[in-house]
């Protein structure tokens, strides 16, 4: 417990400077990817901190509670292997430096989550796919199978949900054996956003506390996937997971 408190404390320090301390260098951090100079606005700008908080509260994984953003053409993109690209509506085409930055990030093995804040319209999601097709022309998105490790990296989840119920499956660009770009049409950050008073900023649709909980679980699973990749695909876990899925019923 002592170490855990220390880490949360250190994480708290990280809010101000976003500079990690020992034990935090490899901590999960939701970095918002900026393209075309667009920044993340309220209320979703509180989402990354909530995401990190829930991860630390629920799991042994360290996380940095501070919010950070990084431009696609900034060399700092290549200092951590996780980034979240979120938005709503059309986005301008990526510049050449931005394309190169993203390409290097993905070739180093980074994980990029694309989260559409307005999935009903889906404009951002489509635009992001279009731009990523220019970055990785040989790797089109594919639908992730229900057995993909993202559905079991910490929680066993049946389908992805966010602020909205969204599609039942996740799409991803898979390179090698790992899903490196995950497309969410669920407004995950919207489900995590909280006001300063501590209330959830945006209502979930169609609604209910279970949906919010499942959205948080999806966020935790994505974080766990970015921290230990396909660990839960290891053979040693297979019999346990099969029994648990069977025990949950249809």
């Amino acid at each position: 417990m002592g170490r855990r408190s220390a880490l949360l404390g250190l994480a708290g320090l990280g809010l101000a400077s976003h500079s990690p301390a020992f034990g935090q260098a490899g901590a999960f951090s939701v970095r918002i990817l900026l393209t075309g100079g667009k920044k993340l606005g309220t209320p979703r700008d509180s989402g990354p901190a909530r995401w990190a908080f829930e991860l630390v509260r629920r799991t042994s994984a360290p996380a940095r509670l501070g919010s950070a953003s990084v431009s696609a053409d900034d060399p700092k993109l290549l200092t951590e292997p996780f980034a979240l690209w979120t938005g709503a509506g059309e986005i301008p085409p990526l510049s050449r430096p931005e394309q190169r930055g993203l390409e290097r990030f993905l070739k180093l093995g980074g994980v990029l989550v694309v989260d559409d804040q307005d999935p009903q319209r889906g404009t951002f999601g489509l635009a992001a796919r279009r731009e990523l097709a220019r970055v990785l022309p040989a790797s089109p998105p594919v639908k992730l199978d229900a057995s993909h490790v993202l559905y079991k990296s910490y929680y066993i989840i049946d389908r992805p949900v966010g602020r909205v119920l969204g599609p039942k499956a996740l799409d991803a660009i898979v390179r090698g054996k790992s899903a490196q770009v995950v497309f969410l049409a669920h407004d995950l950050l919207g489900a995590l956003a909280r006001s300063r008073g501590g209330a959830w900023s945006l209502p979930v649709e169609p609604g209910g506390p279970r949906q919010r909980e499942y959205a948080v679980r999806l966020a935790v699973n994505i974080a766990m996937y970015s921290l230990c990749s396909d660990y839960k695909d290891d053979q040693v876990h297979a019999p346990f997971l099969m029994r648990r899925r069977a025990g949950r019923g249809p």
Binding site: G26, T79, Y154, R244
Partner: protein, 732 residues
Amino acid sequence: MSQVSWAISEDLPAAMAAAIGVLAVISLILLVVEVRRAERLRALVMISGLAATACMLLAVLRPVRVEVTGTEVGPRVVVLVDGSRRLLLPLGDATRRKQALAAAEALRGHFESSRVSVFEFGQGPLSAVGDPPRSSSRVESSDLSEALGELLTGGEEKPVAIVVVSDGRLTRPGERLDESALRTTLPKSSTPIHTVRVTDTAPKDASVRKVRAAGAAVAHQPLNLSVEIACAGGLECDKVPVVVRELRHGALPAVLAKGNVEIRDGEGSVDLSVVLERAGERIVEVAIDAPAGDEIRDNDKRILSFRVTRERLRLLHVAGRPTYDVRMLRTWLKSDESVDLVAFFILRSNTDDPGTDDETELSLIPFPVDELFTDHLPSFDAVILQDIDALEYKLARHLPALAAYVESGGGLIMVGGPSSFAGGGYAGSALGRALPVEMSDSEKPFDLLEVVPSYTRVGRAAPVLRAVRELLGDELPTFVGSNTVGPARPGALVLWSHPARKVGNEAMPLLSLGEAGDGRSIALALDATYRLAWSDRGAEAAGRAYGALWEGLLGWLMRDPRYEGARIELSDRCFAGEPTTLRVTPVSGDKGRIVVELQRLGVEGAEPKEHSADAKESGHVDLPLGILETGGYTAKVRVGDAPPARFDFACERGGEAWADSRPDPERMKSIAAVTRGKSATIAELKSLPQPAATLVASERHVTAVLPPWAWALLAAAAVGGHWYVRRRSGLI
């Protein structure tokens, strides 16, 4: 002396002489036919015809008298002494070899009038017996067929007799060959081969006759050994116990298998299954408990070196919490098809609240710490402990076993983090003795200062970091904090150190390598090596420095020759009681003094002996290790500042050559019999026949018996006489 002989005229070609002979025979046949037709004087016709034919023949052949004057020299006799190491077996108060060499000397005396050459045969070309003869031999086989081939089919003067001195237990010709098979294995020649039998009596001896492995030795896989045991010389054997042990560093031999061999007709065998857990050169002893009366104890055990390969590198990766560093290491390990990775990460601690009490909603499984660190531990080639608290996750009680695992040849890497080293409760634990750095729990377990590790002198010379330096130069990325560790243990090497923190007078180690018993360990007091890929510096090398570091660390841990400071081998096989020389070839770039620490395997607390020499600019250096006794040895070789390389080897007194101590007098007799030679014991060697002397000509005189005109006149007269007789007999 001179020698007289007769010949035909030297100006007559051999073909012509033959044609004339044929004509003479035809003439005689016709003569016989004619004589039958004669009415009278038949005998006279026959006699005159014979005389005429003979005179005609002599007139053409014109015989000459050849007188050769010269000196008589002794015939060439070659004595072949069996040079195999087998002849070092004891015989009476001496050895078979001493007896054989004495017999060779006696043969020189016996063939006093012959030109005697004495050679040793065994393996490869014949070698001269030195003066004085060598008392030992390193040759393990006795190939008489090859030796005879060299003597009898070479371009040199062929010997008129060969004498083989041996105990008959030859490699070739093999045993139990019948006469025709024996002939085919010996070169075709009319030279008689005499044999002198060193001994006809088998000693009372129980021995490990043969050890055969079914296939190659692969780490963690059962290997079947077929062990043949024999009792000879009338030694009474019933059941002979056999034990197979692995000789390890700094520990008593580990028993791999045991069995009993039932001896029938002097022989028996047993199949034993052994598992060698560690890859590389492993030294295995196969020993019997010989019954009382066994006269030769040195062949009661074989000490064998097995080159154990591994199908895949089996690694256990245990992490106390998931981080980017954990992800990076896992991803890198999984990307290598030759790695069989078993990973356990602690995803939830006791204080975490997953938001549900329903375990079926979670994909978590219990951390099987007891199972992993008891039953399965030996099956791993290496263990990586990454930031895991030994106390919280009940690893502490397994640390003595983990230390023993390293000492018996396993690999260990402790990767830094708040719960590593002293922070994870490892200070003062049994594992401390297996790690290359000391730990103290009296200080803060980790430091928050940003740090750029400095290469030490050893780090710059180490092949393990060569690739990282080639990619990043000497400037490493900045790391956030480090574990607080103590000084390097004696013999450990520090590759990276802290530029600001000190332990005693030395900079605090950040990356250290060490050896513990048969195993190796690495202490990495940093928690973010992923920054070798994910940082400004790392990105400059396209992230390749990360893989370069871990490939080097794992390679060194698993004794990959690419990361060793030197290539090490024996200049020749090691035999107990004889000088042994180690050949060290430093890898390019490594210079300085070569220091060898030689230590006996399978002995607790064996004191290492040090040998040293200066490295050459290029090429190898031979380091005499002195005279060694029977056993397994490990040589730790350090070249200059580079981390040490290790080489394990076996040393036997007799080896395979002593496995069968029985002489084979029957084979010696058969060889003599099929070559029209004679077989004798040493006591009987004076009975060997003396070959005839050879005359070497210094002058040769050729004198015609009659001048050619006289032969012609004689022939004409004889033919005329015959013609006259034929007329009188009514044939004309």
